[in-house]
């Protein structure tokens, strides 16, 4: 009996064995391909990270070493200095700290103002019935595609006429206006998602539009507002074109990006400056981005998939 046992199952269930072999082959194939896939994903991740990482290390290396050896040699002969940062931030020739302040002063109103205006407009488009509403909304939506290049010279001419050129006011105003079409569209999408009953119930209670807007809708829209706020924050902080046009090189108005672009042009070989300067300009958006990534992704999805 014992001798026949190993042979007996084979003719009885040939299909099963083949199945099992097949399954095992499939499994090896899939582990192999998973490994290949993970390897490939890892490769992309590394390629995407290394350039930033290299410049980060460079920003902490002494000038003399940056010039004579690659940043990868830092791992075998590490030396760290904060000299580069001290010099770009406070050195009288660069004063990035001044431009850092300018970036903040430019960005905050340029986020607050368009969001407020867009919220009000989006409310009207979503919850007030009026003639021509749809046409007007489509028109605003379509204006998203106007490249801001088209607007710069006439706006600049107007600002010069008013004597406002190269002040914070023109930068705030321009950023606020340029943000409106996208902001209205996005916030309108979010606002439409709020259940009609909530608004109707408030109306029955005799609340006017202003009250409904502040008491009913605004609290529910906080995540949507956060989504657009981070979007606009990154956009304004990282903008070069608007700032270059309306603030010019003005040390008292121009943001970090303008100064950094200027340094890249005039001191293109001074990597200790450029590296530290780049990270001074990057630290705020990266922190904001990492802290609020969830909202940012939401905003992206609402903006492009629905649109």
């Amino acid at each position: 009996m014992s001798t026949s046992t190993p042979q007996a199952p084979i003719p009885a269930t040939p299909g099963k064995l083949v199945d099992r072999l097949d399954a095992r082959a499939g499994r090896t194939r899939s582990t192999l391909s998973t490994k290949l896939a993970s390897g490939f994903a890892l490769l992309i991740a590394v390629v995407w990270t290394i350039p930033t990482f290299g410049l980060l290390i460079t920003s902490f290396r002494p000038d003399g070493e940056i010039k004579t050896s690659g940043w990868w040699t830092w791992f075998t002969s590490p030396s760290i200095t904060l000299e580069n940062y001290a010099e770009v931030l406070t050195g009288s020739r660069f004063q990035l700290s001044t431009f850092f302040v300018n970036s903040f002063v430019i960005t905050i109103p340029s986020v607050v103002i368009p969001i407020t205006l867009a919220l009000l407009a989006a409310y009207a488009f979503a919850w007030i019935d009026f003639k021509g509403r749809n046409i007007l909304f489509v028109a605003v939506f379509a204006l998203q595609v106007v490249p801001i290049q088209v607007t710069l010279i006439p706006l600049l001419t107007q600002y010069v006429k008013w004597g406002l050129n190269q002040t914070f006011w023109t930068v705030w105003l321009s950023h606020s206006i340029f943000a409106l079409p996208l902001a209205i569209f996005l916030l309108h999408n979010f606002m439409k998602d709020i259940p009609r009953e909530l608004v109707e119930a408030a109306r029955v209670d005799g609340a006017g539009h202003v009250k409904i807007f502040f008491r009913v809708l605004l609290p529910l829209l906080v995540p949507a507002i956060a989504s657009f706020a981070i979007f606009q924050f990154l956009w304004v902080w990282n903008d070069l074109l608007v700032a270059l046009t309306f603030a010019g090189g003005q040390q008292n108005v121009a943001p970090l990006t303008v100064r950094l672009a200027d340094l890249a042009g005039t001191r293109g070989q001074d990597w200790y400056l450029l590296a530290a300067g780049a990270f001074v300009s990057m630290v705020v958006p990266v922190i904001v981005f990492l802290a609020l990534q969830r909202y940012f992704v939401r905003g992206l999805l609402a903006g492009s998939v629905k649109g």
Binding site: R29, S33, I44, A45, W48, P51, T52, G54, T68, G70, W72, V101, N102, I108, P109, V112, I113, T116, L117, L120, A121, A124, I128, L136, V140, L143, V145, V146, P147, I148, Q149, V150, T151, I153, P154, G163, T167, F168, L173, S174, I177, I184, G208, V210, F213, N238, L240, T245, T257, A264, G265, G268, A275, A278, P285, V288, L290, V297, L300, V305
Partner: protein
Amino acid sequence: MDLLYADTTGGKFLLMFIAIAIFVLVMGAILVIVERIPRAPRWVVVAAFTGPALLGISFGLIYPAIITTRSSFYDARGQNFIGIDNYVTAFTRPEFQQVLLNTVAWTVIVPLASTAIGLIYAVLVDRARFEKLAKTLLFMPMAISLVGASIIWKFVYEYRPVLEGVAPDRQPAQIGLLNQILVWMGLEPVQFLLNGPWNNIFLMVVMIWIQAGFAMTILSAAIKAISTETIEAARLDGVNGIQQFWYVTVPSVRPALVVVLTTIAMGTLKVFDIVRTMTGGNYGTQVVANEFYTQSFRQQNQGMGAALAVLLFAFVVPLIIYNVRQMKKSEEVR
């Protein structure tokens, strides 16, 4: 205290608060007045809510766009009507043709490359163990300014000249990673940003590096929305990973692919920061968006600048039409 200028940190922040306060007061006043009017006619309410935004849009987008279109038919100083001469120049002069050609290359290559990378990466890390971290890594460049990104990549491309008649081991060290890799492989270092036409590709890499994260985010959401039944059915049919990618994943996320491609194309069209920071538009790398800036603000050629801005706008239109058509199509399918 001057309400126009501030030159100290405290002064600037004060100015900022004053600006916000003025804004809040004006908007608050408008809303309070509307709320106080008993039985306010609807148009008053609508005007209060949409008026400020529409006024801003009219002043800052519509009116300037009309003026710019008009001045694109005028000469450099905006005084004499010259018909379509600026456009003729843009399409016939060799140096402008090069600019147009580069721009077309950017708007084709950047969206395709970043979408491909974003899609592959989204598939690879989908439901992987470190999905969130992996996504953040690809996503991170989106937080960085184009100027910052350009500096990061300029350093990767950094070139140290090879000295003639000097032994290989005594050559000056390459400090750019890419050239060092070439040297390690026994090759000569290359001036990545100087030698055309390839330098255009090396500039595009920066934009691809930034946009791949955007593509990945949108496509990853689309991939997660594919129903499990579809995937199971494909598995039962015995398709392997690559077949599943081509026959299940790609068709399912097609609408998202179109949106991503066109969105990136539109963004790429308008980018000037990268070219400006890395090559200044020299060595045959100029694009329309940067040439616009050069013509308008450096050459003081208002007419030409305006014509280039209008061209940028004109290039966007077919992209939009395509986008809307695809959207309608996918809605019909549903």
